[in-house]
Symmetry: C2
Subunit: 189 residues, 2 copies
DNA sequence: TATGACTAATCAGTTTGTTGAGTATGATGC
DNA sequence: GCATCATACTCAACAAACTGATTAGTCATA
C-alpha cells in the first residue's frame, strides 16, 4: 500500500483531476514513484471510497467534465500514520543493470548502445529537474530556501532525483567507455 | 518478465541451489534486483520447465538434499536476446522519498529518524560492497582490472550499487540535517 | 534436553503493476 | 474537411511481487 501514499502526497498541495495527476506524476512525483494513469484512477476511486480524498465534479464547456480531488482530514491522518511507520529498505531494480552484469559475455555492442541512450535520457531529466528546482525556490538561493522556504518537501525529493540522474549519467558513460575500450583491445589481438 | 533474466544472470557463473541463490541475491545481484526466496524457487521451476536452466539433485547426508541449477544453451540464448532488446527507463521507488515529500507538513521528527537509520544502513552496504569489489578484482588495481579482467560484469554493477549507496548516504544526512535545523529554528520563534 | 538458528524448500492467497483496448468530445493543423 | 492531438476517463485480463505459514532434519548452545 504505497501508491496510495504517493497519491496522497502528490495531492497535498492542491486539487487535481486524475488526468492532471497522471501528468504531475510524470514530473515531480516521478522522482520517487511511477504509475500509469489507469492505476491512478483506480487508486483515486479507492481512496474516495475510504474517505481519504474527496472529489467534486467540475462541468466544463469546451472540454469533457472532470472530477477534482483533494485530501481530506482523514487522508492527512493516514499520511501522518504512514510517515511514522518504519520505511522499507530501498533498492535499484533496473533491466539495464542486469544486462551490464552479463555484458562481457553476451551482446556487448547492444548494451553499449543502451548505456549511451540512457545517458542521453539522464541528461534530459537533469535539465528538467534543474528547471523544476529553480522554479520551486524562486529568487532566493538554495541554502536560504531550504532553511526558510515554506514548502521544501518537493524540493528535497527533486534533489534526490537530480543526484540519482547525475550519478546514473556518469556511470553509464564510464561503463560504455570501458566496454568500448575492451572491445577494441580484443579486436587488436 | 525480468526476474527470469536476473536469475539467469546470477546463475551464469556457476551452479547454485535455490537456497544459495537466495543468499547470493542478497549480496551481488541485489544491486539491481531484489527477490524473496519463494519467488526464486518459483522462477527456477518455470525456467527449468522451459529448458532455460537444468537442475540436478544432490543427495546430502547431514543436510537436506538440494537441487543445483545451471544455465543451458537455450538459457544463454534467452539472455542474449534480452540483452538486445531496448531497456526500459529506470526510476527510484522509495517509501522514504514519499515521506520526505510531506516531511515539512507531517511527522517530521519520525522522518528524521528514518533518514538517519537509512544512512546507517547505507554505510553498512558501502562497506560490504567495497569488500566485494576488492575481492572481485583481486590484487590488480581497478583500471587494470576493468581493462583486462576476465569477468567484469559483476564488478560494474557493484560500482553502480556503491555509487547509489554513497549518494543515498550523503542525501539522507543532508536532508536530516536540514529538517533538524528547521525544527530548531521553528522552536526559537 | 529444550531452544533457537541454519539448510532447503513448498504452498496458498492477496496485492500491485502492466498491457491493451475502448469511449467521447473539442481543438488544431495541413 | 480530414486526420490527428489533447482532454478525460473506464474496463478487462494478465503477469509480477509480496505476505505469511508450514515442513523437516541438523547443529550449536545454554
Amino acid at each position: 500500500m504505497a501508491l496510495r501514499h504517493a497519491v496522497l502526497a502528490a495531492l497535498l498541495d492542491g486539487e487535481y483531476s486524475g488526468y492532471q495527476l497522471a501528468k504531475a506524476f510524470d514530473i515531480g512525483v516521478a522522482n520517487f514513484w511511477h504509475a500509469l494513469p489507469q492505476q491512478l484512477y483506480a487508486e483515486l476511486a479507492k481512496l474516495e471510497k475510504e474517505g481519504l480524498v474527496s472529489g467534486r465534479q467540475v462541468v466544463q464547456e469546451t472540454r469533457p467534465n472532470k472530477r477534482l480531488f483533494r485530501v481530506t482530514d482523514a487522508g492527512r491522518a493516514e499520511l501522518e500514520a504512514f510517515a511514522e511507520t518504519a520505511a522499507k529498505p530501498s533498492f535499484i531494480r533496473d533491466d539495464l543493470l542486469v544486462k551490464v552484469q552479463v555484458a562481457d559475455r553476451v551482446g556487448t555492442a547492444s548494451v553499449i548502445g543502451q548505456l549511451e541512450e540512457r545517458a542521453s535520457a539522464a541528461e534530459a531529466k537533469i535539465e528538467l529537474l534543474g528547471a523544476l528546482l529553480r522554479q520551486l525556490r524562486g529568487d532566493v538561493d538554495e541554502e536560504e530556501f531550504l532553511l526558510r522556504g515554506a514548502r521544501i518537501g518537493p524540493y528535497l525529493t527533486c534533489l534526490r532525483g537530480l543526484a540519482f540522474e547525475q550519478e546514473h549519467l556518469t556511470w553509464c558513460l564510464r561503463i560504455a567507455g570501458i566496454l568500448r575500450e575492451r572491445q577494441s583491445n580484443h579486436a587488436e589481438r
